[in-house]
Symmetry: C2
Subunit: 231 residues, 2 copies
């Protein structure tokens, strides 16, 4: 996922620093300064800056330098930026934002999936729900996470909407973060697992309303747990 080469190194250093606020809005960087600081050529610095620019993190102006743009300008849907924020000081805020987004999108996606999913996808969802039941009971969090992420990604994919589908990776990042930071009960809630099963069965049956409602219960539940933990 990460960009290769020297510009990638710059990016991996500057991006998180900006995303976390360590380099504040309005700060000014100069190409020459970055050349020296990272001991790379102008070419490399410029390419890295271009990438930051295309995420709307910075703007480059002659005779001024490279200025960090206000957060409100940032391209908050950029997956790379989301990853940086999830890894840094902004993690709580980012998780909340994504939580709300999930509440909005995933129920709709589940409803659409009930209509548009193909046979493979319906089968996969059924199988994943079963796996989740088993790994949930056994307490194998790593495996549970894998199946959970796959489940949601499959639903989003099956919605037939490319934009929803693309949120699969992001949702996975959220779920992984939740597990890695021990924000989950040690044994996933029986209740949540049952809801996943319900979503799967509704989608398999082509029942959009039920799929949507069950999925809404899942994601609102997740958001509530998140809010509870973040205090």
């Amino acid at each position: 996922m990460d960009i290769q080469g020297l510009p990638g190194r710059l990016l991996a250093d500057l991006g998180p620093a900006i995303a976390s606020g360590e380099i504040a809005e309005g700060s000014v960087l100069r190409i020459e300064e970055l050349e020296e600081r990272f001991d790379v050529s102008r070419t490399v610095v410029r390419e890295a800056v271009r990438m930051l620019e295309s995420m709307q993190l910075v703007a480059s102006r002659r005779r001024v330098g490279i200025t960090v743009r206000p957060r409100s300008d940032w391209d908050v849907f950029n997956p790379t930026l989301i990853a940086w924020r999830l890894a840094g000081a902004d993690r709580p805020a980012q998780l909340r934002s994504l939580g709300s987004l999930r509440v909005a999108v995933e129920p709709a996606a589940a409803g659409l999936a009930a209509v548009h999913a193909d046979d493979d996808q319906r089968r996969a969802l059924g199988a994943l729900a079963t796996e989740m039941t088993m790994t949930g009971r056994s307490g194998d969090l790593a495996a549970f996470l894998r199946h959970d992420a796959d489940f949601h990604a499959t639903v989003l994919q099956a919605s037939g909407n490319e934009m929803f589908a693309h949120l699969g990776a992001t949702v996975e990042a959220v779920l992984r973060g939740r597990t890695e930071h021990h924000l989950m009960p040690h044994h996933p809630e029986e209740y949540a697992v049952r809801l996943h099963r319900e979503v799967a069965e509704a989608i398999m049956a082509g029942d959009a309303t039920t799929a949507e409602r069950a999925m809404r219960a899942i994601v609102t539940g997740a958001l509530e747990e998140l809010d509870a933990v973040l205090d």
Copy 2:
């Protein structure tokens, strides 16, 4: 919004060509070829390619060249890419995707706005609803569009979720496209205007449920109209 300078020119040429499929998935470009074709230096080509790369439109590999990635890899939330697709052959598909996204997001945003909007925002929504009523009756489509876009942007902003807020610009692009391409009745539906008023009043009153329901009616209605027109 557009990137400045020569790399911007390349981008404005290559990006839409890729987005429209004119340059197909799997196509291979070479830096040298682009240098000659656009009569610019390697530096410029590389910076433009970096930007395309950060949208996941292309991948650069040694000894191979710059290959156009499959559409499923594209960063479909990137505002620049969305603009390109709206302007090109992909317009119908992009409008449908965005329509579904609106159906998912805007009702949720309206519900949140009823809780989180500040006084200025509530006032602004009331005023905008009034404006829409008037310009809707008078048939001044340009003014109506402006107020409509502002209305939705304000709701998204007032939701307090930065990710929702960022969809304001995208929604505006959708609405503008709808007007410019004459996909709208000459006099905006009395019904739709009344729903906007209802959203505004619910948000002003702090009634999340009603705000959400009315907004859902607006966006599902818009999606149905869109589907009807796109056939």
